[in-house]
Structure formats: C-alpha cells, structure tokens
Amino acid sequence: MSIPLLSTLIFFPILGGLSLLIVPRQQTATIKIMALIVSLIEFALCAPIFLLFDKTTFAMQFVEVHPWIKALHINYALGIDGISVLFLLLTALIIVLSILVSWQSITTKVQEFFISLLLLEGAMMGVFCATDFFLFYIFWEAMLIPMFLIIGVWGGPNRIYATVKFFLFTLVGSLLMLVGVILLYQNGGHTFDILKLAGQPYSLKLQLILFWAFFAAFAVKVPMWPVHTWLPDAHTEAPAAGSVILAGVLIKMGAYGFLRFSLPILPDATREMMLPMLVLSVIAIVYGAIICLAQTDLKRLIAYSSVSHMGFVTLGMFALNQHGLEGAILQMINHGVVTGALFLAIGMVYERTHTREITAYGGLATTMPVFAGFFLLFTLAAVGLPGTNGFIGEFLILLGSFERAPWTAVVAASGLILGAWYMLWLYQRIFFNEVNEAMHGLKPLDLREILTLLPMVLLIFWIGLYPNALLGFLHVSVGHLLDQVNGLGLAGQAAPLTLALHP
C-alpha cells in the first residue's frame, strides 16, 4: 500500500482542525463550512477502505509500522481488521452529523468548538486503528481532552460536575489499564504489539489480574453496571454534538477494548469470567430499562436506555459464540446510529424549546409532523422492530446468549418489553395528546436538519433489511477471535477457519 490510508484518516482531521486557526475567529460561517468540508473529505476517505477491504482474511490490513521509541520496542503501528473497519465509517459519519447539528446551537467560542470536534475525530480514528498497545493508550487518553472541553465549555448549567465525574471515572479506569499494559509488557516478551501479545501462554492468575485491570477501563466506558452513573450526567449536560459523539462512538470504545484486548490476549480469563460478565450485562439491560421509567429528563432517559442497550452488546460479546459476537459488533454500530439519531433529534427540538423536561412537551405530532415521523422511526429502531437495524443486532445477541446460557436470554428478552414501554411512553408524552401551551408555533425542520437525519434513516433500513452488507465484514475476523478465545491457533499463524467461513 503506497498511500498510508490509516495515518491519513487519523491526521487529516487533526491538521484540518488546526488549520481552522488561520481563519479569523469572527468569521464563524467560514469556520463552520471549513469544518464541514474537512469532515466530509474524511468521510470520503473511508470509501477506499470500505471498498478495498478484504473480507476473506482476519489479518490486519492497510498495515503501517514504523519504529517509534526503540528502547521500549514501541512502534507506530496501525492496521484494521473486520472488527474495527466498520467503526471508522461510523466515526466519520457521526462527526459530519455532529458538525451539522451544531450549526446554530453553538454560538460561543465557535472556532474552538469545531477544532475540538475534529481533534476528537482524529483521536477516535487512532483508537480504532492502533495495533500497538502504547499507541492505543495515547489515543485513548487523547480522546478525553476534547470531550472534556466539549462538555465542560459548551455544556449545560451543571456541566462542571458532569465533566469532573466523567473525567474521574474514565481516568481511574484508564490508569488501572496503564498498570495492566505495563504488566503485560513485562510478561509478554517486551512488546506492545497486540498481535504478538495475543496467543502467549500467560498464567491464569496473571490473566485474571490483567482482565480486571482492563475491565476497569473498558467497563467504565461502555458503561457497564454499576459504573454507569457518569453517563446520564455527561449526556444531560453535553451539547447536542457531544451527546451524539458520546453515544455514537465514545461508549463503543469500551466494548471495542474488550474485543481487541481482553478476549484475544486473555482467553483463559475471558472464559473464566464469562459468567460474571453475563450477569453484569443482564443486570444492565433490565436495570437500565426499568430506571428509564423513572426519568423526567429527555436526555437522561435516552442515556439510561444506552446503559440497557450496551448491556445487550456486552451480553452478546461474552456469549462467546459467532452469533453473539457478530450481533454485539453490529449492535454497537446500530446503537451508534439509533441513539446518535435520537440525540440529534433531541438537539434539534431543544434548540426550539430550551427544555429537556418531558412534561413540558406534548402534541408535537401536531406542530412538527415531519419531525414526529423521524423520531418515531428512531424510536422503533430503538425498540428493535424487525425491518430496522435494531432488530438484527438484538436478535443475534439474544440467539447467541440463548445458545450459551438460556436463562440470560430469558431475562434479557424482558428488555424488549421494558424497552417498548419506556420508549413508547416517552413518544406519547412528547408527540401525542393535546398540544402543550409552550409547544405552539415551533418552526418545522429546515433542510439542513432533514439532511442531518436522513442518513440515519437510510442506515436504519439498510442494515435492517440487508444486514449482510455489514455482517460480511465480520464473519472471518469474529471466527478468528473465537479461535483465539477458545485457544485454537496463535495470532499470525494460519488458524483453522472452519468456524468462521460461512457458505
């Protein structure tokens, strides 16, 4: 590969973001347009990756390796496989939409805001591309800073509490992971290369220590129960774009971390800890769903629903079989699309009403019918109606967990009932019944807003009706991951592919 595509993906938005500095800060229109163009080019850059990606191998593709800190065997190493490729696209799309939704809602420090967004994009791309644990850690921590600023500077009234909480939660987790990384470096032959670290015969005791060290970082990000309470605060206070990125990409990082590190590097501990992980997932599903029923704040409700939905993701993941894992990865994309779309929509309506109190709403189907249609579709995808993307993910996850331990599927399936309950109730309170006094005269969606929501609608149906377009990327890589978890085949070798290849 002559062009370093992945490096371009990482550094183009960073450079693009920094180039906004040359525009005088009063020219907000120019800044916005430039930011949008940068994000659109970045999105277009994903196209060759999507098209050139070889679905028949689990090996890392578009690989770039350059020695970085030789004394510590640290490399600048990038590469993607079936597990990470889809997230690049998701990230690029989410950033474009975040810029669009911020067009009018961000009025102060405009330049800094869009720079933060683009820097964040670069860091997120880096997380999904890094195949060196050290490099991964750098990107992982680098994401925190722009996100911290986005919530802390452009957030709601209680933003300081929310940002500090968000920062402390994730930092404590990350530090434990750092300790784990160093421990792994010492025991894994003094390398940070993820591929080399996997498949080494670590003792079970060491694996368990490392598992929980990584767990601290990843579980907080997911967030798994009981380390989820930062999410509702962060979502509530974040500006629309912040919520969209948080729900769309950032919380996927935790689940991605499990997939990239815990499962392949620590297979014995993963199998050992399967049951506790399944239990925590099921608790998250039911707990998150029931607690949604008590919410009076629009964004807080969706935040808690994320806890429930991410519970499905970890449930499928720790079912440790093809259906569950593929479902989990697909559901990560789905959740990014659907919850991202819900936060986009909420951002749009918040611009008009300036309230997040559910009781302040009512009758919006009368005053904003087109918006009501969009929101209904997102609601249906969130409750997993067949034909939408949400169904495919949930179905595969539940099937996988049923095959692993039927009772987990039984408990988790109650999330389908509860999900319909809280989402339809929410929908009813916002859109149906008499028009609330304060809701008269809301202006309808403009073209920019419709164009922001439309890609999500297309994705919901596309994935819902033809999920194989995405599942096709996963089969081989997930099969290989399963081989690793089950102790078959070492990384880099030609592992048996019987499990993975689908007719």
């Binding site: 607690i291 049923f402 009932i417 009813q428 019944n433 599942l471 689908h502």
Partner: protein
Amino acid sequence: MPASLLAIPLLPLASFVLTLLLGKRWGTRAHWLPIITVLLSFCCALAAFFRVRSGEIVNQDLYTWIASGNLTVSVGFLVDQLTSVMLIVVTSVSSLVHIYSVGYMKGEDGYYRFFAYLSLFTFSMLMLVLGNNFLQLFFGWEAVGLSSYLLIGFYYQKQSASDAGKKAFIVNRFGDFGFILGLFLIFTQFGSLHYHEVFSRVDGIAGQTVSLFGGQASLATVIALLLFCGAIGKSAQIPLHVWLPDAMEGPTPVSALIHAATMVTAGVFLVARCNPIFELSHFALNLITVLGAITALFAATIALVQTDIKRVVAYSTVSQLAYMFIGCGVGAYSAGIFHLFTHAFFKALLFLGCGSVILGMHHEQDVRSMGGLKDKMPITYWTFLLASLSISGVPGLAGFFSKDEILLMAFNTELGAGKFAWAIGVLVAFMTAFYSFRLFFLIFHGEFRGTDHQRDHLHESPAVVTLPLILLAVGAVGAGWFGVPKIIGGDNHWAHFLEPVLGHPHVHVSGLTEGLLMLGSILAGVCGIGLAFYMYRLKPHLPAIVAERLAFCHRLLLNKYYIDEIYIGGIVKPTLAFSRGVLLRVVDLACIDGVVNGVPRAIGVFSEKLRLIQDGQVSHYLAWMGGGAVALVVVLLVSI
C-alpha cells in the same frame, strides 16, 4: 417466482411509501392509489389461489436476509393452501375496508395518513402470511403490530387513543417475549428457521425433553407453548386480551380490518401453520383448548352487558377467536381456519355496520342513545341482521357451518379437554346469539333514545359505505358453503383443500351423533335469539330488573372483571414505584453516586485537616519535627 406473486405485498408497500410522502398534496384524492393497489393485490391473490388449486405450491427464497455462523434466514415466500386462503381473506376484506373508508373518513384530518397506514398494514399482514420462515413471520407479526399501534392512535390528540395504541403494543410484547424464545429454541434444535426444514424434521424432537426450572419438560411442549404465547398476545386471549377492547379507540374501519378480520387472527394462523409441532404435544393442545374455552366464555359474558356498540363487538371478537383456538386445540386446524374465514366476513360486516350506525348517529357509540334505526338505515339494518344471524349460527349462513364443525370436532376428539370445550362452546353459542341480538334490537328496534338533533340528521350512509356492507353480507351468508358437511349433503370441500397442510383428524362419528350435535348448537343459537327478543322487544323493562337483581355480577361484568385494574395495581404501579423508589433513589443516587461523590469528599475532608498542620508557626513545625524524629527512633528500635 411469478411477478404477480411478488406484487401481492409490494403493491401495498409502494402505496404506503408514496401516499405517506405525497398524499398530503393529493388531498381528498389520497385514497385512489391505496385502493387501486389493494384491488390489484386482491386480483393477484386470486390468481395465486387458483394456481395453488391446480397444484402449484411455491416455496422460494428472494434473498438472504441474515447470515451469521450457522444461521441463514431468507426473505422468501411460501404459497400453499393455507397461505392462499389467508391471502384471499386479507386482500378481500382489506379492499372493502379501503373503499368503505372513503366514506367513513371523509373530511377527517390526516386523511392521507389513514390510507397510508392501511396500506402499511396490508403489506405487513401479507408478509406475515406469505413468509416461508419463522423470522419473516415475526417481521410481519411486529409490523402489523406497528400498523395497529399507528391506527389505534390515529386520533393521537386524544389521550385515550394514544394510551390504547401504546397499551396494544406493550401487551403484545409480552406475547412476543415467549414467541422469540420459542424461535431460539427451534433454531437450536433444528438449526434452521425455515418452515420446510423444521417441519420435515419435526418428528426428531418427539419424546425429547429439556430441563426447565430443575425439572424435565417435553421439548415439543415447551416450543409449542412458547409459540402459543405469541398467539395469546396477538389474538387477544386470556390473560393478554386487555388491549383489544381498548383498541376500539381507532377508527371503525380499522377495527373491522385489523381487530376483527385479519391481524387478530394471526395467532390462529400461527398455530395452524405450526401444527406439526403442536401435534407432538397433547399437553399444549389441551391447554389451548381449555384456554380457548375459558376465553370464549369470559369474553362472551362481558359482551352481555357492554353499552358501547364497538366494545360489544370487540368482546365478541375475543370470544370468536377463542372458538378458533378450540378448533386448533382439538386438532381440527382446518375447522379453526374455516371459522377464521367465515368470521372475517361476518365480523367485519358487524364492525362496518356499527361504523355506518356511528356515522348516521353523528359519532354516537352508546347503544342507550339509539333505537329504531331500522327505517332510517335500511341497508345497514338488513346487512347487520344477516351478520347477526350468521354469528348466531343460524343454519345455512356462514357462521353456522364453521362453528358447527368446531363443536363437532371438540366433542369427538380423544383429547381430555374436548368435551369440556364442547360444553362451554354450546353455552357460548347461546350467549353469542343473545348479545348479538340484544345489540341488534337495541340499535334498530324500539323507540329512538338519542337527542333531537341526532334524530333530525339520522340518515343512511352513502353508497361507498353501503356497497362494502352488501358485499360482505354476501360473504357472511355464503362463505360457509365451501365447507358443507357430508351429513347435509356437502362434501366438506374446505377440509379437503387444506388437508395437505393442516391434516385431517379422523373422527368416527355416527350420523345420529352428528345430527344431534348439530341440533344442539342450532337450538343454542335460536334460544339465544329468542331470549334477546323476549327481553329487549317483548319486555323492555326486564333487563334493568335483572341487572338490579344481579347487581354484583352486573358490576363485575361491566367492569370487565377488573382485569385492567388488577394489572395496573399489580404490575404497572409497582414497577414504576420500584423504578423511582429503589433503583433511582437508593441504588443509583444513594449507593453508587454516594460512593462516587463520597470518596472525593472524604479525601477533601482529610486534606482539609491535613492542611491545618501547615499553619506557618515555626514552633509547631519544630514540635512535629521532634515528634517525627522520636517516632522514627522508636520504630527503628522496635524493628531491631
């Protein structure tokens, strides 16, 4: 696959999309596209039916929907005898309801939206019956649920309507909960979700058991009951029947199409489609039969006293659906489907008749304000009479043949629950005739009890409304002639046609028994009509006296056995209280955030204390230094 087959579901789908996007511009002409497409669908369905009759069964995949590991599910069509019958029912009733709605919904806000939703429903229901695998069935299953949600809540500005839509969706999810687990169990056992592969290997699970809650249960029973959970929800059987009466908040054409003729019968279709599985479990069949009998009786008793005309018919629907389940439960699937078929016509006719009355009465639904409408609304009157006679099982009309077939099969089955179901069935036939004619007499005979304004404007509905009534009346009379039993000179064509899919239970019954049974059910119906005539025509003051004498029962029935109140008090409110009181306040805020905020606070308090040490007083620093030095020496000495 013939293009005409693809067109059956795709035409309504296209109509839905176009009408939703463009219908607003079309204004009062928004109904044309939906009507034309559904009529074309109907023609294609007829063509499909005749192809099946000539022996051409289609089972073909369109494309692979989901592929993951060993799971491959396609979108594909299966058109066999059962499907072709369902196609006819769905497209014909849907066509008539489409036409009827032009008159009924005239001038309503969201006219185009209504027709778009009708098209969406038609598409969904067709996908449900056409699928050649369980997952596509589930797709249709949920999609009809969505259409139902949208149409029940069509008047979404009304709290009661939006509540009812939400309730229907959520209650159905309880059933889906079991249904989807059933699908998982089927997949893990058969490695496929396609009908053909599952049913052709179904004998393999006979006698197998699964461990469940520490005990052993028959695998077939567990699968059958999980699937039946879905049917209970969709077809509104006890204990998930509560959504259907509330669904009457939707416009009346919707009640006729979705909540009488088609969607609610999806549960019966499911059981019939899966008959190879159900056949393996006598326990499941007995349970279906008993539950059917109980539901039939339960709903019929409630229907006796309701005063909202649509609610009477709604409870009647629950009761009639239960009949169909009795038919399936005793293994007479073709009889169940037969009743589904005839019921679609006479019940749709009853609902549309109610709609015509509601139109004529300016949106009055309370039977206590009606009376004497016979002369003002002759077409509605006569068609309603035919439907009432049909549902009451008067010989020669559609309802008679199908109901009789079910009761006959129930009586003669070797299943334990058969005789019980038969006895209840006859009793319910009596009650059905009674409440149907109570309604009939109260609406059309006697004195007019409404306001003067209503009286002055009372009118027969326009032709666009009455024409569907007349056509449905033809069905309500003649739909039963496809299955005339041998004893009165027929050859039971219906059962023979469906036999390849549904089988045919071999009951050996003497002509005398069959004749007596038939006589019994005829008598039940006639007595019911007679009693209604006596109470509501001859002695109109009698009902009030009976209600007073049996005040407790009357109140119990009027309040539908307080089931809604029990659910709200027993499930809804406790869950909400648990959510607010325990999960949010105690676990999240007090425990988890208590720790999260408590640790930094504790560190803060500690550092606050620690800060005091550095107070700038040299003497204090000296004291600390001295103390520290002494402590060090002590530690050193001790450790040596």
